[in-house]
């Protein structure tokens, strides 16, 4: 950890661009956090219906204040929209990318490391867990959803979950009992790699667009829904990358040396493998974040994704479709988007450089 900070400082001192980028990103984060308290002339989502499609820097009478970046089809101030768009964009994509990278890294590294026959689980657990899938689905999901749909009292929902908890408890006791029998105690190999690979294949074969379309027809768009879909489709990418890296690292001499020295699995993975595979994963992280920021506007183009009342870059940019001459709708949020993406890429580039140097020592 100390070395990390040290390297960071070295980079900071040596590279001007890194300094610039870090300052920009830090400023952005600060801006995003304090935005609601900034004295902006217009509130987000405020409609100035007397000044629609106002070009930027124009002299406007009666608006109360000038629209520096112009206005969109409903007279919303593009400056305010751009700033708040950054807030929305980061608030959505950051948690999504962090979660999906974490899931992807864990599963991918696990699959690569354990392969098909190095993870061992007792037969009792192996048998009981698939049996639990049905009550999990029925009492955990099916019943509560229908109880809500058909307006049954909410207390039934708790009843359903209570039943589920009871069943889980019973099966845990059963597990303990079974553990006493030798046959059940025997630890069989668990084909983790194959399972994860299959799951990745299934998930990544469905284009995310279908999922978004399918889910959009179930329920109206919301931030939560969008985030879930993005996490669900995003992790496979990191997982495959992490698995491939793990396969490569496993064949490296230092891993074999570590194993020969009798290091535990956890130590091998955490101390040896993970730091070495961080490079590609981190770069993928920066790119994922950047891609998510642009993806959101693509979804707006297709008319799915975020609800129309949420300020976003995509919403403003999509406004160009109803008036192709309103260049400022693309230029300002688009420029800001590009700048942010650029900063992210550069930052992760230097970070990768740093980690690479780190592993060399």
């Amino acid at each position: 950890m100390k070395r990390l900070l040290y390297n960071f400082r070295q980079l900071w001192l040596e590279k001007l661009i890194f300094r610039l980028v870090t300052v920009y990103l830090a400023l952005l984060v600060v801006l995003v956090l304090v935005l609601p308290w900034l004295p902006l002339p217009f509130a987000p989502n405020y409609l100035d219906l007397n000044h629609i499609f106002q070009p930027p820097f124009a002299n406007v009478q009666g608006a109360g204040a000038a629209h520096w970046f112009g206005t969109d089809a409903l007279g919303r101030d593009v400056l305010t929209e751009t700033l708040y768009g950054a807030r929305t964009g980061l608030f959505i994509s950051l948690p999504v990318v962090i979660t999906s990278t974490f899931i992807g890294l864990m599963l991918g590294a696990g699959a690569g490391f354990f392969g098909d026959n190095q993870l061992r689980i007792s037969r009792a657990a192996l048998l009981l867990s698939p049996l639990l899938l049905f009550p999990l689905f029925y009492f955990g999901l099916y019943l509560p959803l229908h109880i809500q749909q058909y307006h049954l009292p909410a207390s039934y929902m708790w009843l359903s979950w209570g039943t589920l908890a009871l069943l889980l408890g019973i099966s845990w006791l059963l597990h303990l009992v079974l553990q006493r029998l030798a046959w059940f105690r025997y630890k069989a190999a668990f084909p983790l790699d194959m399972l994860i690979i299959r799951v990745i294949e299934v998930v990544s074969s469905v284009p995310w667009l279908i999922l978004v379309l399918l889910l959009a027809s179930f329920m109206p768009p919301s931030v939560m829904l969008l985030s879930l879909i993005l996490i669900f489709t995003n992790w496979t990418h990191t997982a495959r990358l992490a698995r491939a890296e793990m396969l490569r690292i496993k064949a490296m001499p230092y891993m074999e040396a570590g194993r020969a020295l009798g290091f535990t699995d956890a130590r091998l993975v955490l101390k040896q493998a993970l730091p070495n595979m961080m490079g590609p994963v981190l770069v993928a992280f920066g790119f994922s974040l950047a891609a998510l920021l642009t993806l959101e506007s693509t979804l707006s183009f297709l008319g799915i994704g975020l609800p129309p009342t949420i300020v976003s870059w995509g919403r403003t940019i999509t406004g160009i479709r109803s008036n192709t001459s309103a260049w400022w709708l693309v230029a300002f949020p688009g420029g800001f988007l590009a700048l942010t993406v650029l900063a992210l890429q550069t930052f992760s580039y230097y970070l990768r450089l740093m980690l690479q140097n780190n592993s060399k020592i």
Partner: protein
């Protein structure tokens, strides 16, 4: 190796089957259906095009004719309160909802159904004046979740027409429903449907190579997909090839010290392109290269006229200009990502010992990259490429919409919107097959790129 690949393909079959089954089920869960949208939809409202009852009959006939009245799967596990599929499927969705709600509240579908039927009959036999007077009560009785309210409404109906046997029956039933055990909906019930189900029909069809017919134009799904996938395939294939080659070439160039100045200019430019949303990029290209206001180099939309009696070469030269912008657009959109990844992979290889050895031997740097580093950098590159397909498909939706090219992406969106299930499932299946093939190819490439990775073919 061959054994491994066979095993690999063999293992892919359950994945494909699972995926197709999932999409088959998921798509059937969607609200609304093609039949309901096209048959039950009222006219424009200025005059009645047929009565609601006639529409409901036509709707049922359609479902039966196309086999959509059958249960979905061999068996179903649902709450014991849910009425069986054979009953529900023939009803319009709003009615299904009302009946289900009633059944869940009562906890017994048979009694709920009797009550619901009585209510329907009452409405059918009531005259216009009567209906008008009863409207608020009928509305309450169909949608309320409160037992007391239901009884009150039934009492109000009987007050209006004391002589009607149906009204009396309704009231009696409402009273009876008051004393129901409402908790029985918690117990799951398993229903066996046998082979007379939609899934069985579909699966046997697939085994015979028949993916079904589109609901919209009753053409065979296979025909439609063969027709449209060609366009998408060429666009995706050419743009992927171009992007990969360009990215390789570019990243190799950028690795070399003498292009260091370039790197500073090219990398930010690529990042900039990457940050432009695809549809803006497409519109930008259109406005720049296909508009009289700037440069009119390419045609705006479509794939051009195919006049009969052309040779293949004529056809290709004719279509080519139409493909330039879409392919360019898709390539540009994915170039930055690939260049960056290739570059990273290469620079990781740079720090390896063999590179240092090669340099010490005094080999020219360009040659070191191509001969030594590239081979080692291939692993992550292969992973990336094999994972690229869904992104390309998603991209092709936008490209095909903007450039008006009939392809799979557009077909996918329209089939979801129109609830054309056979087509939807088939498209997902085709994409999945393409995906599996690309993963298998990736595995072969892995083995060739890095002999250290051994597929446990002997084990």
């Amino acid at each position: 190796m061959r054994y491994y690949l066979l095993k690999r393909l063999f293992l892919a079959i359950p994945v494909l089957w699972l995926l197709a089954t999932l999409v088959f089920m998921l798509s059937r869960l969607l609200p609304g259906s093609y039949a309901a949208e096209s048959i039950l939809q009222e006219g424009n409202g200025y005059y009645a095009k047929g009565s609601a009852a006639d529409r409901a009959t036509a709707y049922q006939q359609y479902l039966i004719r196309t086999g959509q009245h059958l249960p979905l799967f061999y068996f179903s596990v649902s709450s014991g309160a849910t009425p069986p599929d054979s009953l529900l499927r023939l009803l319009p969705e709003a009615a299904q909802h009302n009946l289900q709600q009633l059944a869940w509240h009562i906890g017994n579908w048979q009694e709920a159904y009797t009550f619901w039927r009585t209510l329907q009959e009452l409405q059918l036999h009531a005259g216009p004046a009567e209906l008008q007077a009863l409207a608020p009560f009928l509305q309450t009785i169909t949608t309320t979740t409160n037992v007391q309210q239901r009884v009150e409404a039934a009492r109000a109906i009987i007050k209006y027409d004391t002589a009607s046997p149906l009204a009396r029956k309704l009231y009696r039933l409402a009273l009876k429903l008051q004393q129901q055990h409402r908790l029985s909906f918690m117990i799951p019930s398993l229903r066996w449907h046998g082979t007379a189900n939609q899934y069985h029909k579909w699966l046997t069809g697939i085994l015979h190579g028949n993916l079904g017919n589109s609901y919209r134009d009753s053409r065979s799904v296979t025909d439609i997909i063969v027709e449209t996938s060609a366009n998408t395939f060429w666009i995706i294939f050419i743009s992927m090839l171009l992007t990969t080659l360009a990215a390789l070439e570019l990243s190799i160039k950028l690795m070399q010290p003498r292009y260091k100045q370039w790197r500073k200019a090219v990398m930010p430019l690529l990042f900039l392109i990457d940050s432009i949303p695809l549809f803006v990029l497409a519109l930008l290209l259109l406005v720049l290269f296909a508009s009289p206001a700037f440069l009119q180099l390419f045609p705006v939309y479509g794939l051009g006229y195919g006049y009969g009696g052309q040779t293949r070469i004529e056809q290709i030269t004719h279509t080519l200009p139409y493909l330039v912008l879409p392919i360019l657009c898709l390539s540009l959109a994915h170039l930055p990502y690939l260049v960056n990844q290739f570059y990273n992979a290469l620079s990781a290889a740079e720090s390896m010992d063999y590179t240092r050895t090669a340099r010490a031997k005094g080999l020219p740097y360009g040659l070191i990259i191509r001969k030594h580093m590239l081979r080692n950098a291939l692993l992550p590159i292969i992973t990336l490429l094999s994972d690229f397909l869904p992104a390309l498909i998603a991209g092709s939706v936008i490209i095909e919409t903007i450039f008006a090219i009939p392809g799979m992406g557009r077909l996918l969106v329209t089939s979801v919107q129109a609830r054309d299930y056979p087509l939807l499932v088939a498209i997902v299946l085709v994409v999945a097959v393409a995906k599996v093939v690309s993963h298998v190819l990736a595995d072969i490439c892995y083995a060739y790129a890095d002999p250290r990775i051994r597929y446990q073919s002997q084990a």
